[in-house]
């Protein structure tokens, strides 16, 4: 017991950057810069997202100055959706990515090129939006109604845990996780599950806030993150704590190369990443063969 306390104290003294994902195998995990027990992490994350759900999209716009829309557009264009696709968007509660994919498949330009065979295929398209938090899903369903997609049977809202998906093996053509993988307790489990549900030729794509290495920009970004964002959270959403968690969890998440190696360890091939805005956001992709 004393030994465990001792190691925990030592670990807290070591700077957060040295703590790699492998250390998270122990029974403690990170919740921002705090060390918490694993069982608690998902509860605490749950609380964060229940709190932020209603203002989630608004806060995203504020924090990223609207750029998050472009990042998600880039994610979907990298995915290259096609009619008849079975896609799983994990931690996609409010549906941003799912709506974009659906719109890309249904777009008029595509319709112009289609022949009758494809119309049938379009019926088979299924976008599953999976989120562990029911509040986020509810917000998503309401947004779908507003967009007129309420009756569209291509969109399926599912509550579930990314570490233990309820979908079958080799059933999905695509898997995306946008700004979600930072919040999970066991990254490796999520990656393994992703590998399991994807078909051969299927692609894994993750959009996530990541590490900036460019010298001056890094300092500016840190300043912005730690000073501006929690304050903004307090003013706009009335919840400073959650946004403090957000900013800290970004720093604790493995850097681009490390995350890429974790994806490769899960079995994916052709693992690549693309930095957007100098590393503020990174899109990692992998192919299952």
């Amino acid at each position: 017991m004393a030994l465990r306390l001792l190691t925990r104290n030592l670990r807290n003294r070591i700077s957060p950057n040295l703590c790699s994902a492998s250390l998270l195998h122990s029974h403690a995990t990170s919740f921002g810069f705090k060390e918490v027990r694993e069982e608690e992490k998902s509860q605490m994350v749950g609380k964060v997202f229940s709190n932020v759900a209603s203002n989630y999209d608004l806060m995203n716009d504020f924090m990223s100055a609207g750029l998050h829309r472009l990042w998600k557009d880039r994610l979907v264009s990298k995915l290259s959706p096609f009619p008849g696709m079975k896609h799983l968007d994990v931690a996609g509660g409010t549906g941003d990515v799912a709506f974009r994919i659906l719109e890309s498949i249904n777009s008029i330009r595509r319709r112009a090129l289609q022949d009758p065979i494809n119309d049938d295929l379009q019926e088979e398209t299924r976008i599953y939006v999976c989120d562990i938090n029911q509040n986020m899903l509810n917000v998503g369903k309401n947004r779908a109604l507003e967009r007129g997609l309420g009756e569209d049977k291509s969109l399926v809202w599912v509550q579930g845990d990314a570490e233990a998906l309820s979908f079958e093996d080799n059933s999905m053509d695509g898997y995306t996780i946008a700004f979600g993988i930072r919040n999970v307790t066991h990254i490796e489990k999520v990656l393994t599950e992703a590998y399991r549900v994807l078909k051969r030729g299927g692609r894994f794509l993750s959009l996530e806030l990541s590490h900036v290495e460019i010298p001056v920009f890094k300092e500016l970004y840190d300043l912005y993150s730690f000073s501006v964002i929690p304050r903004l959270g307090e003013v706009v959403a009335g919840d400073r704590e959650s946004y403090q968690y957000l900013v800290e969890s970004i720093r604790r998440f493995p850097p681009q190369e490390k995350f890429a190696s974790m994806i490769a360890d899960a079995g994916f091939q052709k693992v690549e990443y693309e930095n957007l805005v100098g590393g503020v956001v990174a899109i990692h992709s992998g192919l299952k063969i």
Binding site: S80, M85, R200, G201, Q256, E257, Q269, K270, V271, N275
Partner: protein, 296 residues
């Protein structure tokens, strides 16, 4: 035609590397250069913001022009190549659908379904339709090399006829797709795709000259490549609108162009001699005149 000629003169550095390696150890290494270029044109993904992670490789594959590094490419299959094989299979299957769908994502999606792989794999090609076109170009080049290596009829022909025959053989490979070939050309002309398509055409021209028995290594080398590039491109474009049976008119056009080029070479040589002779004559009379002026 002017674009390819100008580009070739600008990018001669990479050509020198290819030819240097090829001159020294021709048959075995050229095979490896071509295969590695096929993999590299499909794996030639990154622009500067992107990085690729290779779990088992210490160095990422660079362009095909390094013949020295080919030893690392020999040897056992590493996991990295597995997805490339799969991608190659998808592209091969997609070629059969090009006539119906053109050089497009549709064709590639259909190809992927045929092979039994999820069509999501199409998203993993960096420039999608361009990947298909480039694959086709590499494939044709491989087939051309096989034809060259296996056929002896080339030895009996004079150089100009050899070139004519080789260009014809190569263009005939495009004949099945001729209805959609303008689309392929436009894809190759996109600024993003120009580097790769230029490289492929340069290799093709190089290959044809080697087979035709070229030993030059001075300024003549560039001139020859430029000429052949021009002949090839113009014939290719002529072929697009040729409706004669079995493209007979195209081959006549080709023969004329080759003849012109060889005649032009002789003409240039003769013009050079003439200029030298005139210069020599002028020079001596000019000297005499200047001498008289200064004697005053």
């Amino acid at each position: 035609m002017y674009r390819t000629a100008a580009n070739r003169l600008l990018h001669h550095a990479s050509l020198i590397k290819i030819s240097a390696g090829s001159h020294l150890r021709r048959l075995p290494i050229l095979g490896t250069v071509i295969t590695s270029s096929r993999f590299s044109t499909t794996a030639d993904l990154q622009t500067s913001p992107n990085q690729t992670f290779h779990p088992s490789d210490s160095s990422t594959s660079s362009s095909s022009s390094s013949t020295a590094g080919d030893d690392s490419r020999h040897g056992s299959k590493n996991p990295r190549a597995e997805y490339e094989e799969e991608q190659a299979r998808v592209l091969q299957a997609s070629l059969r659908h090009v006539i119906k769908f053109g050089w497009s994502e549709e064709a590639m999606i259909t190809g992927a379904k045929e092979v039994g792989v999820s069509p999501s794999i199409v998203g993993s090609f960096p420039r999608k339709e361009a990947a298909l076109v480039e694959f086709f170009m590499d494939d044709c080049l491989q087939r051309l090399i096989h034809r060259i290596d296996s056929g002896e009829e080339l030895q009996q022909l004079i150089p100009s006829q050899r070139i004519s025959k080789l260009v014809r053989v190569r263009l005939e490979m495009q004949a099945p797709h001729i209805s959609k070939w303008p689309q392929a050309l436009s894809i190759q002309a996109h600024p993003m795709n120009v580097p790769t398509s230029f490289k492929q055409r340069a290799m093709l021209v190089n290959e044809i000259w080697h087979a035709a028995g070229d030993e030059a290594s001075d300024i003549d080398w560039y001139v020859k490549r430029t000429f052949l590039g021009g002949i090839y491109s113009t014939t290719e474009i002529y072929m697009l609108t040729d409706r004669s049976p079995e493209f007979r008119d195209t081959w006549l056009f080709l023969d004329d162009r080759v003849k012109d080029a060889f005649d032009l070479k002789k003409t240039i040589q003769e013009a050079t001699y003439l200029a030298e002779a005139v210069g020599a004559g002028m020079g001596s009379s000019l000297q005499g005149f200047v001498g008289k002026v200064f004697q005053r």
